[in-house]
Amino acid sequence: MSSSLLLSARHLQKQFGAVVAAHDLCVDIEVGQRVSLIGSNGAGKTTFVNMITGYLKPDQGSIHLGDTDITAMSPRQITRLGVARSFQIPQLYPALSVMDNMLVAMACHDNQLSMWRSASQPQHIERGVELLERFGLIQHRHRRVSELPGGVRKLLDIALALTGSPKLLLLDEPTSGVSAEEKFPMMETVMHALGNEPLTALFVEHDMDIVRRHADRVIAFYSGRIIADDAPEQALATDDVRRYVTGELRQEANHA
C-alpha cells in the first residue's frame, strides 16, 4: 500500500432488504485530502461513513486504514486507530456542561479511565479550553449542552471529535439544520479550527458552494454507486452530477 494512502475501501456492498445502499464502492483517500461526499438523500453517503466508522458492517468488501483491516472492527476500536466522526444530529451529553463534554471525550481518547483521579485534570482542561477557543465556544464552557442552540451543538460535536487528534475526521452534514446565513460562517469556523490539525477530512455536504470552497476532491453518490470522483470543478460539471445531485440538467430540461 502506498505510504500516502490513508484509507482504502474496496468493493463495498451493503443492502437493506431490496434497497442497495452501497454497490461495489471503491474509494482510496490520500493523507491530507479534504474530500466532500455529495449526493441526494438516500444516495448512500451516510452508509459509506457508517461503514468506515464501524457502525455498519459491509455485506462484502474490505476497508483498510493504513495497513490495518478495519472491516470487522467496532466503532471503539476504529476510533482508537485514529478515526473520529461527528454526526448529522449532534451526539452530545445534554445534561453535562460543555467542558464536561470535552473532559469525557479526552478521558475516552486517552484511555485514562481512573477510578480516583479527578476528571478535571489540568492538561485536559487546558486542551479543552484551547479547542473551545478554536471553535469559538469558550463563552459556553460552563453551560449545559441542553441549553445551547443547534449551531453551537454542531460545533461542539465536531470539537469532541477533534479531542483525540485523529488522523481521519468524518463530518456527517456539518451544516445541516443550520440557517442559510449561518452555514458559511460555521463552515469557516470548522475549517479554521481544522487548519492547525494535520488530518484528512471527509465531509458529507449538500451545499455546493461550500463544497467548491472547502473540498479539494468530490465523491458523488447516487443510488449506492459512485457517479463522480474528481476535483470539485470537474466533478460538479459532469452530466451525472448535474442530473442526479445538483439537479441542474433537470431544471434546464424543464425550462426547455
Binding site: R76, A107, L113, W116, S120
Partner: protein, 317 residues
C-alpha cells in the same frame, strides 16, 4: 463541580467524628435504627452508583444476602467474630460470586437490566429457602461479634456496632464521591446520556458498566454483613424482592447527586418504618408510598438536589 481530595477527606473525617460523638448520646433504640440505616444505606449506595450510569438494580438484595450469609457462616462455622473482617469478607464474597455475571448484565439497559437483577435475586432467594444446611426459610442466628480482638459488653455492643457501621458508611461514601468525580465516574454519567457517543470517542461502555456492577456488589455485601451483625439473625428474606425494593426506594429518595443524601434517606426510611409500625400497624407501606409520591412530585432529583451545586445551577438557569 469537582471537589478536591483535601476537602473531601476533611469532610469525611468530620462527618465520621460527628456521627461517632452523636452516637454517645443517642438512646439505644435510635442507635440500632441508625446502625441498620447505615448498613442498608451502603446497599443503596451501590444502586445509586449504577443509577448514575442509567440502570436501576432491582435485585441488590442478593448482594446483601450473600454478604450477610458469608458473615454469619464465618461466625458460626469458622469462629471468625471480628466485625470489620466479617464486613470486608462479606463484601468480597458478594463481589466474587456476582462478578461472573457482570459481563452479561453490562449488555442490558432499562427494564431488562432491572428484571435480570431481580431474577438473580429471586433465584438466590429460592436456593436459600430450599437449603436446609443454611437454615432454610427460618435462617439462623449468630452471636455477639467482637471488634479488633475485643469482646463487647452489653453496655457497649450497640454503640460499637453503630461505630463500625458509621466507619464503613463514611469510608464508602468518601470513596464513592471520589469515584463519582473521577474520569470513570464522569464517563458513567456520559453513558447515561449517550452511549453511542462514548463508544465513538473510544470509551468502553460495557467495561464501565461491568465495573460499576462489581463495585455495587461489594457495597451490597458489606451492607448485608453489617445488617446481619446488628440483627443477630440471617434469613432468605434478605434476598427477597421487597427488600430490594426498599433499597431502590432509598436510592430514588436520595437522588444520584449526593452521597450524604443516601445515608440520610436511609435513616428517613428506617424512621418512617419504625414510627409507622408503631402508630399505624400494618399500614406502614401506605405511609412509605405517600412519602415517596411526595418526594417524586416535589423533589424529582431526590433529596440531594436540595444542596448539590448542579441543582443550584439548574434553578438559576
Amino acid at each position: 463541580m469537582h471537589r478536591s481530595f483535601t476537602f473531601l477527606t476533611w469532610a469525611a473525617l468530620l462527618c465520621t467524628a460527628a456521627l461517632l460523638a452523636l452516637g454517645l448520646v443517642l438512646p439505644k433504640w435510635l442507635l440500632f435504627m441508625c446502625t441498620m440505616a447505615f448498613a442498608n444505606g451502603l446497599v443503596s449506595l451501590g444502586i445509586v452508583l449504577l443509577m448514575r450510569g442509567g440502570v436501576v438494580a432491582f435485585g441488590q438484595g442478593l448482594m446483601s444476602a450473600i454478604g450477610g450469609y458469608t458473615a454469619a457462616l464465618l461466625f458460626q462455622k469458622m469462629g471468625i467474630t471480628d466485625a470489620i473482617v466479617l464486613t470486608l469478607v462479606g463484601g468480597i464474597t458478594a463481589t466474587l460470586l456476582t462478578a461472573p455475571f457482570a459481563p452479561l448484565l453490562s449488555r442490558y439497559r432499562g427494564i431488562f437490566f432491572s428484571m435480570l437483577t431481580l431474577a438473580m435475586s429471586m433465584v438466590g432467594y429460592g436456593i436459600l429457602v430450599k437449603t436446609e444446611r443454611l437454615g432454610g426459610s427460618d435462617g439462623f442466628n449468630l452471636g455477639r461479634v467482637s471488634v479488633l480482638g475485643q469482646a463487647l459488653s452489653d453496655d457497649w455492643v450497640g454503640y460499637v456496632l453503630y461505630a463500625v457501621a458509621v466507619f464503613f458508611a463514611c469510608l464508602m461514601s468518601y470513596l464513592s464521591r471520589i469515584y463519582f468525580d473521577s474520569t470513570r465516574g464522569l464517563i458513567t454519567q456520559a453513558i447515561r446520556e449517550n452511549e453511542l457517543r462514548v463508544e465513538y470517542l473510544g470509551g468502553s461502555v460495557r467495561h464501565t458498566m461491568a465495573l460499576n456492577f462489581v463495585l455495587a456488589a461489594f457495597m451490597g455485601g458489606c451492607g448485608g454483613a453489617l445488617a446481619v451483625m446488628a440483627l443477630g439473625h440471617i434469613d432468605p428474606n434478605f434476598s427477597y424482592w421487597t427488600t430490594s425494593g426498599e433499597f431502590v426506594f432509598v436510592a430514588i429518595l436520595a437522588g444520584t447527586q449526593s452521597v450524604i443524601a443516601i445515608m440520610l434517606s436511609s435513616v428517613i426510611l428506617e424512621a418512617v418504618r419504625s414510627f409507622s409500625s408503631a402508630y399505624f400497624p400494618n399500614t406502614w407501606q401506605l405511609a412509605l408510598g405517600l412519602f415517596l409520591m411526595f418526594v417524586i412530585r416535589f423533589l424529582p432529583l431526590g433529596l440531594g438536589s436540595l444542596w448539590s451545586p448542579k441543582s443550584q445551577k439548574e434553578q438559576e438557569a
